[in-house]
Amino acid sequence: MTLRSRSIAIHGESGVDHGDQKERQRLLAQRKAMVEANKAGFGRAEWIISALFLGALLLFPVLGWRLDSTLNLLSQWLDGWYLGNLPLLLALAGVALLGTQIFRRRKLSALLDALHLDDMDFCLRESCFIKYYKELKQEYKELDEKFKQLQDETRKLFKQIVNAEQHIEHMASVSGAIFWEADTAFKVRFVSKTATSLFGHAHNSLTGHSITDILTSMDDQCPKEEITAQLMRGEPISCFATSLVPKTGAPVRSVLDAAPLRDDQGTIIGISGVITPLTRRLSGNASFEHWSELVLGKEGAKEGGFFRDSAILDRILTEQTRKVSQETEGAAYQISGQIQELDKHVSDMMQLLTEATNWTQSQGGASMSVAKQDREAIGNLQNFVQGLRHQKEQETERARQVIDQIEGLYRLVEIVRGISEQTNVLALNAGIIASRTGENGKQFLVVASEVRKLSGQVKDAADRIDNGIAESVANIQSLFTDNTGSLAAEKEEAFLQRTAQQMTEMGKNYSKLLDFNDEILRKIVDWNATLSNKVMNMLSGLQFQDIARQQIEQVNRALSYRQEYVTKLQSLYGQKEEAMRGVEPFNIDILTKGYVMAGQRTIHYEQTGRQQKREEAAPQIQLF
């Protein structure tokens, strides 16, 4: 170690004490004392040992004199031993002295080590020190020149560092960001002046503070502890909504980017980072400010901004779709219940029909023989009726023949009557002529009168024949009638009675079946009416689909509005101020115009926290 470095170690670089002044002063004082002690050649230890030894030399004879024979013996022994061993004693004294010197030198060496001085160079005697000092002065001169050179280089380097700092300050100023640097204990070493302009902190006032004290984070993914932990693991970090704590006012929304600094060996020697406010005030970019106001809302304001309202919209739509889901689930349950009722209803009817079928079959077995008899009876009756008809036809034919004959006779009788009348007329004429002819005609008159009598008899005979014919016809007719009644009267009567009984039985059975059918029909009519009602109810349940559809359409409209707004924001980014004019902020309240149900409005106002206009409860059905 050179004298200069020694000197610097004691006095510091610029001649002013740095570091722990008290400790240095203590060491210097201690060194001074040691030097003083070494200059004298005797230190305290030496004085004590010498005093002890001298004391022993002087006191032992005195002590030996005071004590008894044991001590006399001891003193004699000591005298003998003492005198005989004086060189040894002296040697021992010399060793003791030497030992203390060694001890002191070691202590001085430790002290000199603390003072970063080479104990071999340190001279215990003043003259040696002075001589060494002259040599050291020469060395110091040489070193001083080197130091000056080094200083120049350091100055140049420092200037470069200052230039770099100015460069960093310029970059910070242009970009509107805050550049910062901290040591491995996260104590801030450098903060650019933009911290003053953006956050109101006095220049260098943040230096020395821990970065966790000066940062504020609203990013759930980036708590402050995680920032330091990740950086110490050697990983860079980027955090949204993390910024410097401002001197006054609300935090400026910023993005933090930081990374560890490493030396040539890769060891982490510090942290550097950038805090970029999302609003570039320094640049005075009005369009960006306006754009960020649309996205984030007004600076420091609680409400407004696309992000915030979009999150509210998500909650509104979630609640509205949950309501739709619940309602459709309810409707589905209702319809499902109606289907089950319908199914039961059909089952009931099927059971009824099964019972009817069973009953009919059971009845059918018993009535088979009856039906067979009925069929036989009906068959017999049919045969009988047919036979009767045939018989009747024959008799009718015979009677017709007789009547034809009689009609023939009638014609004959009419002819005879006609002849009789004509004869009568002739006779009259003959009489008249005869009366006119006188005597000769008198005989003729008699003949005419006889003819007239004959004609009258003929007419009478014709009349009698006529009556006789009529009587015969009447007889035939009555005979005809009697014939049908008397021909097979007895056996027919029996047969017909039997047939009538069977018919009555048949009638009863059919009556039973008719009653049963009536009952079945009645039940079917009732069932049909019930079925109709149930189907009607199920059909009306389909209304829920329309209600759900309207609500979901509204959700889609809201999503479309948001998507359009996102597209608009994307297109506006980086545009000039004029493009932003007239662009309205994202407004979820305009969606209320499309709401058709009270439930939608209620959910909207609940989620936005705004007071709902009271809606009067209106009846479900109202006739004006």
């Binding site: 059909l539 349940g541 059905i621």
Partner: protein, 123 residues
């Protein structure tokens, strides 16, 4: 048989109402938009009752009723609004346009048929 004319842009609603009304013994005519309904009315359809939805694309139910009332044959025919809307302002608007009544979906068949019996003479 009485004729009921139903107007709704939802196919499901038309199916539902047609099923209920035809089972109740009515003859049902349908239209799926305000414009189509008005065309049918102008070309000779004279129903005993018209039931229309409120929210439809294009011509809504209120406008349909307002236009239908201008037709002489329909001036005094009953016209009901069947809708999900519940706001009183909308009802007043429908009443002013000439609606006979207002029903809020969903409406149960007995209630619907009850209203129909009241508004159609002789139903």
């Amino acid at each position: 048989m009485k004729v009921i004319f139903i107007v709704d842009d939802s196919g499901t609603m038309l199916m539902s109402l047609e099923g209920v009304l035809s089972k109740a013994g009515f003859q049902v005519e349908k239209a799926d938009s305000g414009e189509a309904a008005l065309t049918k009315l102008k070309t000779g359809l004279v129903p005993d009752l018209m039931i229309t939805d409120y929210n439809m694309p294009g011509m809504n139910g209120v406008d349909l009723i307002r236009e239908a009332r201008k037709l002489p044959a329909l001036k005094f025919k009953p016209m009901l609004m069947l809708t999900t809307e519940s706001q009183l302002e909308r009802r007043e608007e429908a009443k002013a346009a000439g609606a006979t009544g207002w029903l809020v979906k969903p409406v149960q068949p007995p209630e619907l048929l009850g209203v129909i019996k009241r508004v159609i003479p002789g139903a």
